[in-house]
Amino acid sequence: MSKRTLAVAAVAGFVMVAPALAEARDQIRIVGSSTVFPFSTAVAENFGRTSGFKTPVVESTGSGGGMKLFCAGVGTEHPDITNASRRIKQSEFEMCGENGITITEVKIGFDGIVLANSKAHSPFALTKKQIFLALAKEIPVDGKLVANPNKLWSDIDLSLPAERIEVLGPPPTSGTRDAFVELVMEAAAEEFPEIKALDKNAFKAAAHSVREDGAFVEAGENDNLIVQKLEANPNALGIFGFSFLDQNADKLQGATVGGVAPEFENIASGEYGISRSLYFYVKQEHVGTIPGIKEFVAEFTSDKAWGDEGYLMEKGLIPLPTGDRKSMMESANGMAPLSM
């Protein structure tokens, strides 16, 4: 019996002592977007290998979740850096400010969003307007918004195949979905005078609603899953990040959007219309407290990482133009505070 009492006492003691262990931290902690995750982890690994600092811990929490953790306060229990596949929002910036956080913004490059299908099928050539007509919940017909009547691609345009519309895409919780809606659906909605004439909220509702009658299938956050489903079903189109198309070039082909193919050069030059910027944000208050933050930023913004032939490019990051890269590197390493 005494043995058991001892064990219980040990456990109780352990639980009470543990908070003291939380104080010291000599390792950078990064949270945020799952899109930036592959790049952030690659830099973290190289940084850990070459700098002599501990390898940073990178969590994939999504852009919004990362911001929430990041802006919660200053102190070792809060993360030092957050990744985002969109720019920080005004509200998030204010929350950070209220908690005494000064932010440095670093734009690291671009990510293309592609529509792709299996190589067993002929390639698609689409425009943003056609994508909108295929996927919006309500589209204008004869001046009025009605539930999307298009069943076949050929209902939209006779140049498209006479096949059922079937698109696999990410769920609304995903940053890829946000970007797709903003870059494609909103942009296309602007082109319809009936929708453009609506007031701000109604426009948003019309532009952001994706149809729920089976033509658009929410296929989960895992892009590999979409890739596998496309292989199995040659009639379907999928929406996902460029790096997954790049890795699966033997099975999938990207649809051209507005006549531009989703290729590395076209996305880098901005010619391909569906690409977004990727960012990370640094908490200045932690520079000096947590060792290695400055060096990590320097590694991320070095040419061997994010340059035209850097290792991030191999991971599918589309680099900033050379001039932007230079100015961004200077502002990042100088820890220029962000103001909005």
């Binding site: 019996m1 058991r4 064990a7 219980v8 040990a10 456990v11 639980v15 543990a18 908070p19 262990l21 939380a22 931290r25 390792q27 902690r29 799952s34 995750f37 592959p38 952030s40 982890t41 690659a42 973290a44 690994e45 850990g48 501990k54 390898t55 811990v57 990178v58 969590e59 994939s60 229990e77 190589k119 895992n222 892009d223 590999n224 990040g241 790096s243 997954f244 790049d246 890795q247 699966n248 070039a249 033997d250 032939e309 290792y311 991971k315 599918g316």
Partner: protein, 434 residues
């Protein structure tokens, strides 16, 4: 009266004819066949599952290596001739390998082609050379033929995952790379060797350098915490509830709640861990300590229920006999009931642990779903666990992670089979029939 009811009575008499007997036998045969079919269906599905995992995953245990004759230039490794392992450790071994590749294929020119050529080696290949030099510094200044890891694309090519007959634009490995690899293959300089890295390294973004050891150690620490917490608490609660507690409304309420907790989805425990352990106690994120505590909450009901069942199975006559010869109630429990119930309790504990080993959802909330390269050295170091590692690899864009994912699943299944086999063994060996 009796005459009029006699015919109905005759009709109700059991029909013992051959035909009816035959139908009964047939019904039984059919029932057995259904049962067998159900078992075969379950086995077939299980076989399919394990078969695909093994087929996709067995190649994770081997890795393509390339033999590179490398001149270990003292000017590069240790220019001042210090013999200091620190200085030798920092030298540019990748550069030495590149020089060697350039010498092997002298007609490759142009920056892009050169980069492609260097890319057939893993960018961690220099570490293999460094290890060779550090373990035996006397080889500096000589030319050694060393087997170093190839990059993940070349590894996929050699393992046959990339179809060499496809048009060039459709594959990740280009024509010139295939020419180099075929030249090296003709020299016998390409070999698939056992992948030790897979079992000794932490996570990596490069598939050929990624390993599961970090996750295995993380799982070990997490389960250790879970065991240390749940076993004493679970057994004590079960003993009290079963042997000492009076039967009243309160104990009924507790019993209902324990059964209820066993059915709560595990993510809820993660949310609780986030709110209580991280926010209120201020424990570190991503630590096995917190992971173990969360999983302990999750497994506690399982262990209490199993322990109570084991205690209940001890016949009352044993308690009565002990009490009869003058033992106190405490002595009855510690000397007689508990030792007899222990095999059952252990079985329940192991099954609870196996369940905790396979859990991911509650760990999501407390930051254990993270990219962690360093092998954790204690319960407060950031760590991840095996199922989380599988989840992270399944999400990675690089194709070579598919086999790593399946390989890691095989390792996890191996651990689970081991634990469940141990539970069965304990039961078989020590369980007593009354």
């Amino acid at each position: 009266m009796t005459d009029s009811t006699a015919p109905t009575a005759a009709l109700r008499r059991a029909d013992l004819s051959e035909e009816r007997l035959g139908r009964r036998y047939a019904a039984e045969k059919r029932f057995r066949a259904y049962g067998l079919m159900a078992i075969f269906a379950a086995l077939a599905i299980l076989g399919l599952l394990i078969g695909t995992i093994v087929l996709n995953g067995y190649t994770a245990f081997v890795q393509t290596h390339i033999a590179v004759p490398v001149y270990l230039d003292p000017q590069v490794i240790d220019p001042q001739d210090t013999n200091d392992p620190q200085i030798m450790g920092r030298a540019d071994y990748q550069g030495l390998l590149r020089t060697s590749l350039r010498d092997r294929f002298p007609d490759v020119s142009g920056r892009r082609d050169r980069l492609k050529l260097y890319g057939i080696l893993s960018n961690g290949a220099g570490l293999d050379v460094r290890d060779a030099v550090l373990s035996d510094p006397s080889i500096i200044g000589t030319t050694q033929t060393l087997w170093v890891k190839s990059s993940d694309d070349i590894d996929s090519l050699v393992k046959g995952y990339i179809d060499r007959t496809l048009p060039e634009s459709d594959r990740r490995v280009k024509d010139n790379e295939i020419v180099w690899i075929e030249a090296l293959e003709a020299d016998g300089a390409i070999e698939t060797q056992f992948n030790t890295t897979f079992f000794t390294a932490g996570d990596s973004r490069e598939p050929e350098q990624a390993g599961i050891w970090g996750a295995v150690v993380g799982s070990f620490y997490t389960l250790l915490i879970t065991l240390v917490l749940t076993f004493p608490i679970g057994v004590l609660s079960a003993v009290y509830l079963e042997e000492f507690a009076p039967k009243n409304k309160w104990t009924d309420l507790i019993e209902v709640n324990i059964n209820n907790l066993a059915a709560v989805p595990s993510i809820i425990f993660g949310l609780l861990g986030l709110a209580v352990f991280l926010s209120i106690f201020g424990l570190p994120r991503s630590a096995p300590l917190v992971g173990g505590m969360v999983l302990a909450l999750m497994t506690l009901p399982t262990i209490i229920i199993a322990a109570r069942a084991a205690l209940k199975a001890v016949p009352p006559s044993i308690r009565e006999a002990a009490l009869g010869v003058g033992a106190s109630r405490l002595q009855v429990v510690t000397h007689h009931v508990l030792p007899l119930a222990l095999p059952g309790i252990m079985t329940g504990t192991i099954i609870g642990m196996a369940q905790a080993l396979g859990e991911t959802a509650p760990l999501l909330m407390i930051g254990m779903v993270a990219f962690i390269v360093d092998i954790p050295g204690g319960v407060t170091d950031p760590a991840t666990v095996l199922p989380v590692q599988i989840f992270l690899w399944a999400d990675a864009p690089e194709r070579a992670f598919v086999e790593k994912t399946n390989g890691a699943i095989m390792v996890l299944l191996g651990f689970l089979i081991l634990m469940n086999a141990l539970a069965v063994l304990l039961r078989k060996r020590f369980e007593r029939q009354w």
